[in-house]
Structures are given as C-alpha cells and as structure tokens.
Symmetry: C2
C-alpha cells in the first residue's frame, strides 16, 4: 500500500477463479481495515458465492466495508446466455457507475432483463440454487475422489467448498499447455494455468471445471486424464 | 496522414450522427485510395444507411476498399433493446476480432440472438424497413418544413436524405445547453451540439431527432421550440 498507493483492489474472495479458494472472515476484516485506512476501493466480484456445497457462508466484504462495490451475476446461478449482472455500491457512487456503464454499452438488453424478470417472478430461485448445489456438489465430489489415483505422486490440488473449479499443480518441470494437446486427443480438456498469473507464470498448474459434466462423465474424463498423465 | 500517421479512421459516412450528412462517392473513392497508400484501416460504422427517404444509395466504403471493417446494427432497423450488431471484415482479420470481442463481453446474449433469428425467419425485413422509411420520411419532412418559421433568421441546418437527425446552428453567441433548460420547461428537447466536437466545440449547434414522434407531435414540438427561441 505504501509503495504503490493503489486506488482499487479487485478480488474474487469466495471460490475464486481459478483456485476455488475462499478468503477467511479474519482476512476479510483485515482487508476492510486496510481499505478504510488507505481510502482504497474494493471490487468484490462474487459470481460463485451462492454455489456452496459444504461449510458455512463467509460474510461478504461489502457487509463489513463501505468502500466496497459488490458484483453479482446471473450467469452462474441462472443462464450465461443472458448477459445479466448487478452491483451494490455506496449510493453516492451509483450515479457515476451508471454513466460509466452507459458509455460502455448504452444499456443491458431489455429482452434479457424482461426474460429474467419473468423467470424470477415465476420461479423459486433459492430452490433452484439448492438443486444446483446438490448436483454440483456431487460433481465436485466425483472429481476430487478420482484425483488421487489419476495424478502422479507429488501433485497438489485445491479442495474447494464451492464454486466450479479445482486448481492443480503437477510435480516437476511440466508444461500443462503441452499436456493439454495430448489430452485433447483423448477428448478430455482443462485450462492451462499460466494465463491466470499476473506476473511469472507457473506452467505446471492447470484448472479443471466440474460443473458441466455428470459424475459418471467426470469419472470417465479423469480415467482418460490419468492415461495421458501416465 | 504524413504528420500523424494514424492506424485507423473511424467514419459514419452515411447519414452521420449528429450532422445527418453523407460522404459522396467521389470522397469515398479518395478515402479508399488514401487507405491503400498508407496502410490505414477504415471502420465504416453504418447504423443508419438503410434509412434513406430520398435519392439513391451511395456504395459503402467496404465495397471499394479491402482495408475496411464494416459495422451494422439491428438497433435502428429492428429494436435497440436487443443489443445486436454485426461486422464484415477481411477474413484474416476476423479471428482477431472474435478474440477482442470475447475479451470485451464474452459473447452477445444468446436470448437476443435467438429472438432476432426467429424474427428474421418469420418477417420480411426489407418490407419492414420500407415501412420505416415511409414513416420516418414523413417525420423528417414535418420537421424540415416547420423549421423556417420556427428558428431565427441566420439559422442554418442540414437537410438530410435519411437517418434520424437534423443538425442546426443558431446565429450569434448562443449556448444551446442553456437553451435546452428553457425548452425542457415546455416539454420539448434536443441534444446540445458541444459534446459532439472532438476539439473546439461550437456551442450554438444542436441536434434534433425526428424518428421518435409522429408528424403531428413534431409540428407541436417545433411550435414550442419557436416560442422558446423567440
């Protein structure tokens, strides 16, 4: 803070992309304190927070810091084809944010907004999210359970409580982008980790998503990945 | 060109916003030649081109220059609430443009795309545009006909062959932004011209749109504007 004097901190504090990790309540409190002391704005991007499969929710940064702009998304709990999100910000910031959005895209599709309004009026969204969490939780469990026998000794991975991703690191001097080319020949894919690094990339890392496939498909995919890794 | 060595030229060559003016075929040919000689890219933004009420279409720059990226929009011929446009570009540029768009917004709403696909499959778009042109042409005529008796001597205005706008300049040292505040009290509005200038603004200019109101409403609006101007 003292050296760089940043004006803004961007965070995905809950089930982060790509690591799946969540900032503890204690670290959130520290961030809120640092933001207040340094007039720092925090952007809390939270597309995954409602997708929790175990453990208890950690209160959003926005609930403990009035220097937070909180971003929500319909993409992960509704449908990504509808380009809809929302934000919560201090009232005196909202007018400026509206002007910025108008300059960026004029406005969000009124067709998408009307479709979402109709969906929300006629659907129990909480029940829908609960169903998502049951299904995604089973998919997460299938992937994590298949990992120990699929990856070489010395591989490490995150064990996420929610979200969509497991983040892995292979032992030794491996480039996951090269590995991906071999995996694609077996019709199994992941996202190489290097592009996620802001500074020096670790090429041995990669991200796997567990939400798009059934547990059975995940087990098959992990078996194919194991073959590629061998 | 020699001094600034620009890489890109952005143009609305047909029924430009805010002036309503159209570049002649001769000037388009000159631009195509300059683009070829200087490796200049031209972005031809053409949301209004299909809204022609008199005269003959001028061939798009894209038809005479292979250094042109042509932009079309569904907003002015269909519905602005659907955030849909398209572009035509040389094939070897398209892949890069797709990546740039993905970085900007991931993708266009699939709901909007599906709605437009259904609309286009079940509607005669050319007939719809022809109906728009009949109606908008009558609105244009109503506004232009009301102008001479509504504005003070020495006022100049564009006499557009299409599009949505008439562009005016009042005589003397007038600020149209101040005038707007008075006009709003009579429930009539226009857009002050100053923000449209890239360099030194001319505060005596303003833009009027003729597409949103019926000829009768336009005549009433012009009568109110005349009162404000007096």
């Amino acid at each position: 803070m003292a050296e760089e004097k940043p004006g803004l901190l961007y965070l995905v504090p809950t089930f982060a992309n790509p690591t799946g990790r969540t900032l503890s309540a204690a670290r959130r409190a520290e961030i809120a304190e640092i933001a207040a002391e340094n007039s720092l704005w925090v952007v809390e991007d939270d597309p995954y927070g409602e997708l929790r499969y175990r453990g208890s929710a950690v209160a959003p940064l926005a609930s403990i810091s009035d220097r937070t702009v909180y971003l929500g998304s319909f993409s992960k709990i509704g449908a990504p084809g509808m380009r809809l999100g929302w934000l919560r910000a201090p009232a005196d910031l909202l007018r400026t944010l509206v002007v910025v959005k108008q300059a960026a895209d004029l406005h969000t599709s009124t067709v998408d907004q009307a479709a979402a309004a109709s969906y929300l009026a006629h659907t129990d969204l909480d029940a829908h999210i609960a169903r998502l969490c049951v299904e995604y939780g089973a998919r997460r469990d299938a992937m994590v359970a298949a990992l120990p026998s699929a990856v070489p000794d010395g591989t490490t991975w995150s064990d996420p409580d929610g979200g969509m991703f497991v983040w892995l690191r292979l032992p030794g001097d491996v480039d996951s982008a090269v590995l991906l080319q071999k995996a694609l020949k077996h019709d199994v894919a992941f996202v190489p980790g290097a592009p996620f690094f802001a500074t020096t990339p670790d090429h041995a890392t990669f991200r796997m998503s567990f939400t798009s496939n059934t547990p059975e498909e995940i087990r098959e995919g992990m078996a194919r990945l194991a073959e590629v890794l061998r």
